[in-house]
Amino acid sequence: MKISSPEFKNNACNALDDNQLQGALRHVRKNFVKKRADARRDLPEFDALRDSARAIKDHTLAHLDLYLEHYEKKVIESGGKVHWATNAAEARGIIMDICRKSNARTVTKGKSMITEEISLNEFLEANEIQPVETDLGEYIIQLRGENPSHIIAPAVHLNMDQIRDEFRKAHTHLPAERSMDEPETLLREARQILRDKFLSADVGITGANFLVAETGSSLIVTNEGNGDLTQIIPRIHVVVASIEKIVPTLEDMAQITRVLARSATGQETTVYSTLSTGPKRKTDEDGPEEYHVVLLDNGRSSMLGTEFSEMLRCIRCGACMNHCPVYQAIGGHAYGWVYPGPMGSVLTPTLIGIDKAGHLPNASTFCGRCEAVCPMHIPLPKMMRFWREREFEQHLSAPSHRRNLTLWAWFAKHPSLYRFVTSIGMRILAIWGGSAKRINWLPMAGGWTKFRVLPAPEGPTFIRQYQRAKRNAR
């Protein structure tokens, strides 16, 4: 996937000028936020569950090697195979080998951010294997040649008209004059087309919301049932998941899913929660003949024990982006890589480098709402600040900003000079503001005055006035 994170500012400006996108983002602002708030209100033990979910993940991460080994053992016992992949290229290679051995031509896919992370679709296409996205949102953006703009609602940046146009363009075997006014009609059409793809696919690839060490199972949660058809019908099922998806037991998994759906869509639970454990057994009527798990590290193990390790608790619910004023303003594509919003602003620099992703942890007001709604209590602003520190240490931030900051900090550390300089500065600004008490344009502060007036200082600084009043009182 092409990385455009270095052009974040441009991307953001384009997004702000895109009226259609702005209309679509209103849905995020209104619906997602409200639904999560309602779900939280309706479950009195929600906050206790969050604490418990955090504890489960912290425990698991502290013993990650142990649980991963146990998980592998259980997968093997159930007849499956675990493939360890250090990085994206290795993961792609493993998947390609599996496809080649079975002469696969088409692959159906359940919704999976991890396959976005390893750019699997592009790779399969380049190797003449056709990937078919079966989640409705993913299917739509695949038709458009786009990447997801949200980790759980990949097509949230689109409206009905765009989807209708796309379907008319893609589904040319259907009558051109057919009615497509209702969302249900579009849904039925996609379902009809996908039905054939499900039946003819050679390999089904899904992600995993959780991997369960106790049983060697993987869990996917969906609202469309497409994941079930992806993993049951083809001869081969490949699960692609990153190592931090592991939880010790089914009970742990069940607990965390209770906060997952509520945080994500406000549902009590997703419509489908599907566990898969190994390939089809002799007594099973259906299921895949081969069951593979590709376990991807891709930099995650190196986050353990660092200031970014808490990020590994993330369960990809999307609540942080739904509540983020920056995401709400510009949508997901502007972030320029796979993971948008606050979780992406922490994770992306780990995966593609702070030199490329430097804007992301900086483009935050630190309003803290992401942390407040995160079901796993991940201190996202704190970790974005850690990235800013790394950036500052490596001299990657803009030299002009550094100079201004250093100058300001020097004065802040020298109170008398600070007092002297700020008194003069404020006097000038107060005069500039005139009787209207506002400044419409100020050199060096264009970023501010382009969009707002700058309130002028009232007059002498507080400390000066206070000192004078004290003297007069004596």
Partner: protein, 258 residues
Amino acid sequence: MSKRNNDSDSTEVALFVTCLVDLFRPTVGFAALKLLEDAGCSVHVPVEQTCCGQPAWNAGDRKDTREIAEQVIKIFEEFEYIVAPSGSCAGMLKVHYPELFHNIPEWRERAENFASKVHELTSFLTDVLGVKKVDAKLNSKVAYHDSCAGLRELNISRQPRELLESVEGITQQELNDSETCCGFGGMFAVKYSDISNSIVSEKAENIKNAEPDLLLAGDLGCLMNMAGKLKRQGSKIEVRHVAEVLAGMCDGKPIAGE
């Protein structure tokens, strides 16, 4: 040792004015002084104070932040309480200073001790001093904006509203999405001005829809941002720091003028 008056047992408070109030809106400083004194405090204003260091902290400049923080702690740690008319700056002193020094043994305890004495103005009045009523009067319909740091780092939302309720003649109107950021974010407003503008424009719509006479908040940064946008749009809604209303000091011009 706490600094105490010899001739009375009044609560000793040091006012951390905050740099924005010091430079742009001294009235807020005097309003804080009055509110604290009315509540029976003896208020000290160390004149060596400059800034809490938040701009450096949020820019990833740990070294400068630490040096500024050491200076602040040295100036203020002798007092019984340290009060700031800002949730953001109080949050910096109370929440972030201990974080800043957590791995520096010789400063950690000092920072934690200092932090335990820091309070935001309205919450100090209600939660520590037990103030239920202020002596102020204003015939106005006001809307209070929850500033993010105060709201989420210090749990401030009930306190200013309770105090406003006691102002004679005031009616309060809640904003839609009152817990959503105004888009200020310090340097964010300048570095990512287009995004900041989009966020504050949304906020301005919510403010205008509530049709208040007066917009209030507890943080000058947010107030300057929202006032700056409203005035650029030609809105007649006036903007003030909540302390000005609580202290009955609304005679001067509002933030960014009328």
